[in-house]
C-alpha cells in the first residue's frame, strides 16, 4: 500500500514535468530527482493542491501558474562575492591571464538576481578590465533576471556582501557602487553598461559565443548527471581557446563525461581551463 503510494507520486511528478515541457517549453525533466521532489511537494502544500496531478491540471490550463511553479522549481539562493576565495582566485590568478587579451567576453550562466554578475563587474572595474569586457548574464527565471537588471537588493543583505567583498581582496569600498534608501540598496547603473541580460536555458538553448571566462556556480547541482554532461559540453563549446570555467565550491568536473577537455587551473576554487582546440 505504502509502496504504491510512493510510486504514484513519482508518476505524477514525471507527468507534471512533461506537461510543463509540452505546454511552456520549460524542461525540468532531467533535473536531480531528490531536490525536484522536495520542491514539488512544497509547492503542492503551499499552493494548496490535494495532489501533484491537480497541480498539473491547473498548470496546463492557467498560465499564471508558470511563474509560481518556476519560483519553486528554480532555487534563487545567492550572495555577492559568495565564497570569497573564488573571487580572490579570479582576481589574483585568472585576471593576469585575461589582461593579455584586447577584448573579453564573460558569461555568468544561471545569474539569478545578479549577485554574482555584479561581483564580477566590480572586480573587473577594480582591475581595470571592465572597459574591454562584455558580460553576458543569463538565467531561465524572468523574475530573477528583472531584479538583476534593476540591481536592487534588501539593505539587510549588504553587510554580508561587504564582508565577502573585502575577503575577496576588494580594492575599493562596496559602498562606492550603491546608494541606499527605503530599506533597499540600488547598484550604480553604470555597472550595467557592459552587460547583456538574456533568457537562456542550459538545457534547451545553444552555444553562446567565444567566451574567455564562464562562471556557472550552483546551477548544475540541480541537474542530473546526463544534463550536467550536456551543460558542461555546452560550456566547452562556448569557450575560446584556453578559456576558463568556474563552478560552485562543492561541484566538480571529476564525474563529468567531458572531464578530459579541462584541466584544473585553481583546484581549490574549482576553476578549470579548457584544453586542446
Amino acid at each position: 500500500m505504502i509502496e504504491t503510494f510512493e510510486k504514484v507520486e513519482d508518476i505524477e511528478i514525471r507527468l507534471l514535468l512533461e506537461a510543463l515541457y509540452l505546454r511552456y517549453h520549460y524542461d525540468f525533466r532531467n533535473y536531480a530527482t531528490g531536490s525536484i521532489k522536495r520542491r514539488l511537494r512544497q509547492a503542492r502544500e503551499q499552493l494548496g493542491f490535494a495532489t501533484i496531478s491537480a497541480m498539473q491540471e491547473r498548470a496546463l490550463h492557467d498560465e499564471t501558474m508558470l511563474p509560481r511553479l518556476l519560483g519553486y522549481l528554480t532555487v534563487q539562493v545567492s550572495e555577492m562575492f559568495r565564497d570569497p576565495g573564488y573571487f580572490r582566485a579570479i582576481r589574483e590568478i585568472v585576471v593576469p591571464h585575461l589582461r593579455t587579451y584586447p577584448s573579453l567576453k564573460i558569461w555568468i550562466a544561471g545569474c539569478s538576481a545578479g549577485e554574482e554578475l555584479y561581483s564580477l563587474v566590480i572586480l573587473f572595474r577594480e582591475e581595470g578590465l571592465e572597459d574591454r569586457t562584455i558580460f553576458y548574464a543569463t538565467d531561465i527565471n524572468q523574475d530573477a533576471l528583472q531584479i538583476a537588471e534593476a540591481g536592487v537588493y534588501d539593505v539587510d543583505r549588504i553587510q554580508l556582501f561587504t564582508e565577502n567583498h573585502r575577503k575577496s581582496g576588494g580594492r575599493s569600498s562596496l559602498s562606492d557602487y550603491y546608494s541606499a534608501g527605503y530599506g533597499r540598496v540600488s547598484f550604480d547603473r553604470t555597472l550595467r553598461d557592459r552587460v547583456v541580460f538574456s533568457d537562456h536555458s542550459l538545457v534547451t538553448d545553444a552555444v553562446f559565443g567565444e567566451m574567455n571566462l564562464i562562471s556557472c556556480r550552483n546551477v548544475m547541482i540541480y541537474f542530473d548527471k546526463a544534463l550536467q554532461d550536456r551543460a558542461v559540453g555546452l560550456f566547452r563549446d562556448s569557450l575560446a581557446r584556453k578559456g576558463f570555467l568556474g563552478i560552485g565550491a562543492k561541484e566538480s568536473l571529476r564525474f563529468s563525461a567531458h572531464a578530459d577537455d579541462f584541466s584544473e587551473f585553481v583546484r581549490q576554487e574549482k576553476i578549470y581551463q579548457r584544453i586542446g582546440k
Binding site: 522536495r38 547541482i221 548527471k225
Partner: protein
C-alpha cells in the same frame, strides 16, 4: 530488530555530535558493507574538518561529499557546510543550496526523506544527540516506508531535545545507547 535487506545507513546529529560519532564510526571495520550518509549541523562559514578528523580515526573510508559523488559500500559521507545532502538514486549523492530547514543547512530531515524515497524499507536511520527538532520528520518518513529508525537514548544523550522529538514522531523506533548503536550497526553491515 534486524532489517531484512539493509541498503544504507543515514545518521543525523547536532549538539554533541563529535563525541557521539566518535563512539560509532571508529568501531566499524573496513569490511563494513553499507554506505553511511551523515548530516551534522555545522556553522555555514566554517570549513568542515569532520571528514578529515574521522578519516584519521576510522577503518571505513570517510569523504566530504561533492555533488554527484558515487555511492560506494563501506564509505561514510559527510554533508559539507551550507549544503543539503540528498540521496539521488542508489548510485549517486547530490547537494543543493535550497533554503535552510528548521534553520539548518545541511538538514537531517532532507537527508532522511531522500533516503526514504530511494531505499524504502532498506533505509536505516540513526538519530543522535541534538538541541533542536531536525530529523523528527525525516525519521517518520523512513518509518512510513518500512525502514528502521534507531534513536539514541535521550537520557544518555548530550542534548536530549532531538532524540526526544524523534521519539515523539516515531514511537516505534528502537532506542539504544551509543554502544548499542555501534553494536547494532556492526551486526547489520
Amino acid at each position: 530488530m534486524i532489517p531484512a535487506d539493509p541498503k544504507a545507513v543515514v545518521i543525523g546529529a547536532s549538539a554533541g555530535a563529535l563525541e557521539a560519532l566518535t563512539s560509532i564510526l571508529p568501531t566499524l571495520s573496513k569490511d563494513f558493507r553499507l554506505p553511511i550518509m551523515i548530516v551534522v549541523h555545522i556553522p555555514p562559514d566554517k570549513r568542515s574538518v569532520l571528514a578529515e578528523l574521522f578519516r584519521a580515526k576510522s577503518s571505513v573510508e570517510v569523504i566530504e561529499v561533492e555533488d554527484k559523488e558515487p555511492i560506494r559500500p563501506g564509505t561514510a559521507y559527510f554533508a559539507p557546510p551550507d549544503y543539503h545532502l540528498l540521496i539521488e538514486d542508489q548510485e549517486t549523492l547530490g547537494l543543493t543550496n535550497e533554503e535552510p530547514v528548521l534553520f539548518s543547512r545541511p538538514s537531517i530531515d532532507v537527508l532522511f526523506e531522500s533516503a526514504a524515497d530511494v531505499y524504502g524499507a532498506g533505509a536505516v536511520a540513526v538519530l543522535l544527540t541534538g538541541a533542536n527538532h531536525d530529523g523528527a520528520k525525516g525519521a517518520s518518513a523512513i518509518a512510513r516506508v518500512g525502514g528502521h529508525v534507531i534513536i539514541q537514548d535521550p537520557r544518555s544523550a548530550f542534548a536530549s531535545a532531538m532524540p526526544e522529538a524523534g521519539l515523539a514522531s516515531c514511537p516505534d523506533a528502537t532506542v539504544l545507547s551509543l554502544d548499542g548503536i555501534s553494536e547494532y550497526l556492526r551486526r547489520i553491515g
